[in-house]
Structures are given as structure tokens and as C-alpha cells.
Point group: C2
Chain length 336, copies 2
Amino acid sequence: MVRGSVTIRDVARHAGVSISTASRALGGGSASAKTRTKVQQAATALHFVPNTAAQQLITGRSNVVAIMITETPDFMFQDAFISSITSQLMNSFTKANLFPFLVLIAPNDAEGFARLLHNSRADGMVVVSFHYSEQFATVIEQFGRPTVFVGKPPLDMDYPYVDPDQLQGGRMAGQVLTARGRRHIAIIEGPTDMHSPNERNDRTTGCVRALHDAGLSPIATIPGPYTMRHGIEAAHEVLTEHPEVDGFFAHSDQIAAGVLHLLHQHDRHVPRDISVVGFDNFQVAGLVSPPLTTIAQPLNQLAEAATEMLCARLEQGQWPYRRKIFPVHLVERDSV
Amino acid sequence: MVRGSVTIRDVARHAGVSISTASRALGGGSASAKTRTKVQQAATALHFVPNTAAQQLITGRSNVVAIMITETPDFMFQDAFISSITSQLMNSFTKANLFPFLVLIAPNDAEGFARLLHNSRADGMVVVSFHYSEQFATVIEQFGRPTVFVGKPPLDMDYPYVDPDQLQGGRMAGQVLTARGRRHIAIIEGPTDMHSPNERNDRTTGCVRALHDAGLSPIATIPGPYTMRHGIEAAHEVLTEHPEVDGFFAHSDQIAAGVLHLLHQHDRHVPRDISVVGFDNFQVAGLVSPPLTTIAQPLNQLAEAATEMLCARLEQGQWPYRRKIFPVHLVERDSV
DNA sequence: CTGAAAGCGCTTACAG
DNA sequence: CTGAAAGCGCTTACAG
């Protein structure tokens, strides 16, 4: 590992074999058992560490895989979805003997993204949080190596992906609200730039369908970032313009926490006066007051599936499947 | 970027010059203005992206810098200190044209650490959260490249570092408690494995000195992880064994949040009956009830200094200085 | 099973 | 300023 250190040439000499034999003995090539031990002992004795740059130059493989996140570092570490899925991905890639490289970049810095991605030397990539822009789409395309999305990619980007069943999640949220007798329901959405401009958010669509089944329509649909602040501001807006509101479907627990916070400030009792449903089932869902009824998504399964897909693609040269959708389920607490 | 793609040879041919001239024109070498434009145009036209593996093989430099964190991914993303310092480091390294590689590894997996570090191809490293073990110390030593610590390294590891003034921070905490008339003060420490076994925690030492100046000693000193749970359990222990307790110094805001939580459960009023001081001044300090009086440390300055030190070492071949200590300050809220 | 040779894509003395 | 050549440390056909 130290600069100017021992090379395979030294190992070969020490073991009394040629360089090519040493290389084979160390790797998977053919070599007699005797030679193999001799060479491996030499390598150990000399603390030989192969030069990854040279290996990569020959084989074209780095065993590095990029995890792409278009968020500011601050947000990434505060956001439970991203940090959690990222940590799961790092775990499963490491288990698969791949080396995760975090490509963390602000949503407006496509050039920095290209540089970082290139310098990661990655063989493949998983996109965790993608805020759409043409430049970013172009960089991913030019990357030209196997790439899988966590979350459905924008319509014009045809990449394999894993996703929780968003439609079903939205439907469950709508159903639990209407079943409770709520009739004036507002939807506080996540950001709109994570899918194509003309595409509707699946969580919203699912919810709208459930409302429709009960003869209803949402009284408001307000997009924004996955933050508590967005929840607070959106709930404020709804309360002001639609004081009759009696139900909220928030697209994340964090947003729901903001909604609860505002309702509490305005002395609207949850769940007596108003019901609130979240999405994610993260830790915060159990900590807010009242504890939040929410839709749980299986993050670990998403991460594992993404890893498996990418590994298969890297090893067998083709995707085992193009997409995998995971069921979600309702976690009932006290906010409905 | 695509496999089997354009090389400098293609660029040279397209520009009508030799490979060596192309290389010089693209890099910092000598070349006529005319040649330089010609080559750069060719590179752009062909979408040339230099092969970093080849560059590294020649120059011995990758421009990658490792950020080492011996924690489980889960903890890292939940811990405000680590995630915050990491995100600041990533920012400042990126600004310095270096590529941060997160080496995130469980505290017991020294072998995995060695592999990850090696595969990062890093030119240097900054150690953010170091839980001591001989194996880890050995891996860092064998890494053999410039390494700087955030936080004072264990005594037997002589690496340059940046650190907030821990001693002064502890002293401030002690002083604000004694000034408030508290006389039965417990210290809830962070982990003990982050410094050498026979070494005392500097935050504790500072606090003990302040108590000593007031003719006091701590009634208890309880180490543990930087978590809310540790705060809860330790406060419970103190309350049980030393019911006379009237002051807590928690080594992190997170621990303090746990202490506050437990005191609330046991109907001990803060700050009327008991005072609590934290450390960090993270967001949680303003959110708990009552808002927490705490010691603020300048994370961004720590990160920037670490980056500067490492950059200087990488470019000029020597450390500009071996350590840099940053002042901390007391942030008074309502818990004392 | 083993060794000599070619070559991955660059950079950098060395001559001119 | 420019080109031909050497070489970074490996791996992998190719012969034997």
C-alpha cells in the first residue's frame, strides 16, 4: 500500500517463478498447488498489495459501484429515506465484494456530478435520489455503464428500477381516511421534479382513486420537499383556504410531522377533529404525538434487490429483470 | 467514459499531433497556443475522457481522499456530529478538487476496512470517528499516506489533528453548573474507546477542574455511546443511586436529550430542580424541552482546517502544522 | 503447469 | 515547441 512498494515482480522473484505465474497463482489462473502456496507465502511475507490502478487498466473493472444522490449533503444526512437506503446499499454492496462510492451532489451541479462520477471509476451505479434535469439525464446516459434506479425513473429515462408499490400505498392512505368518515381530504405531496413534468405522482394517483371510490376528490394537492417545514407551511395553507379540512395524506412521515405540529398549534385535535396519514414508517412516526398512522415500505428489500440486479448485470452481462415492485402495508397508530 | 472508448491516441490523430504533444496540450505541459486549441478542440469533439486508472498508474496520484468512519452505517447517519462533519468535509474536499471516498466500516471489521481503504485508491485520509483497536491502528499505519484526525487521536498514534478545545468546553459546562449553585453533579460521558484506555476524557477533565475550583467533585461519571438511550439509562442510574443529584453534564446534546426525557418522566423539573448542560449545539438542542444550554463547537472550521492541512500535505509534501485547536463557546438556553 | 511477450492508456524525461 | 521511446504494474493469450 505504501508508495514505491513491493510489486508482483518482487513476489515472483521471491517465490522463484515468473511474473505471469505469480499473477496466475494469486488470481484464479491455473497453477500447481505447490506453486500456489509458494507464491502466496511470498506475497504474505512481502506484504504484497496489488496495484488497483494497474489491474483496472488491464481488466477494465474497478469493482467500485457508485451510489448517486442528487441532494445537498446536509439534506441527505437529515433525510431518513435517503440516509437509510444509502446505508443499506453500502452494506449489501460490501457483502457482494463491491466498493460503494457515494456520489453526493447538489441538484444543480451536473458538471460536478460528471467529474465525481468519472473519478469514482465505477463499473456501475445505483441512483437513489434523482431530481430530474436534462443535464443530469445526459451525464447518466454518457456514463454508459449499468445503472439501476431506486424509485421509478422519469418516463423518458428507460432504466431498470426497484420501487415500493406507490399506487397501492396511496390507495391505502385514501382508504383509511374515507373509512374513518373523512370527506375533506388534502394531499401534501413530495417534490415534483423527481418524475417527468407531465407525469402524475403515483402516491397521489392511488389516493385520488380511493377517494373517487368514496365519491370524493381531494380538496387540495400541495407539492414540496420532503421536509417538516413543507408540512407546516402546506397545512397552514390548507387550514386557511379550506377550514373544513378533516384529513391529510402526507407523502412522508417528515411532512406529516410538520402537519401534526401545525394542527397542534392551531388547537385542531388529532385524531378527533382531523386525521393524518404519513408515508415511510420511519422512527419519527412513533415519536410524534399522536403516534402516526402511516404506510410502511420495505427499504432493506429495495436495497437488496437493487444490489442483486446490479451484481447480476455486472457478472452475467444482462439484467435479470427490468423492475421489481414491493408491497407496502398500513401501520395503524393513533393519528386516524 | 464508455468502455472501449476514445483514447488520447484518437485525440492526437484527430489533431494531427503526436500522443506526447496531445498529453502536454491537455495537461499543464508546454505547447504552443495553436497546438493547445487544436488538441482541446479534438478532445471536445471526440468526447475524450482520460482514463484515470492509466493516469494513476503513471503519476501515483488518484486525487481521491478517504473519509474514514468506524461506525455502523446506521449510526453514522443518525449521529449529528458524524454526519455533519462528514458532509462538511465532502464539501470542502470537492471544492479543493479532491474526490471524497466514504470509508464507512463497523468498529470490529478491520479487515474490511483495509480492503475498502485499499480499493478507494486514496492519496490521503481524514479520520472522523475512530474507535480504537490495535488492528485499526495497524491498518492506518500500513496505509502509509498522509492522514489527519478530526479529534485528538489516541496517545500512541501520532497523527496530526484538529480538535475543538475539549478541556475548555468541559470547564465551561462545569462553571455554568456551579455558578447556578449546583453541588451534586453527574457527568454522562461519551464512549471510552475513542481515546487510549489509560487516558482521561478531556471534556470530563475540564469539568472536574471547574468543579474542583468550587470545592466539588462529580458524584458520578458514566461513559457510554453518544445516544439518547445512553442518556436515559445513565440518568436513571444516577437518580437511583444519587437522588440528591442537581446537575448533569452530558457529553453530547443527544445524550442530554435522553437525560431530559428521563427527568421529565420522573417529574424532576428542569431547570428548577435540576440543571442540564449538553455539548455540540446541534439542532436537537433547540427542539428539546426545555431548550438545552450547551457548548457549541465550530464543525465547519474543523472540517475546513482538516481539508486544508491534508491538501497542503499532499501538495507541498509536509504538514503546515501538526494540530489546530478551535475555541468553543457556551450557548445559554433554558436548561440551567 | 509455466515463461516470454504484448499491451492496457497514459505521462515524462530525452533528444532534436 | 515537438516526437519517439520508455515505462508505470499488472493480466492474458500464446507457445511450449
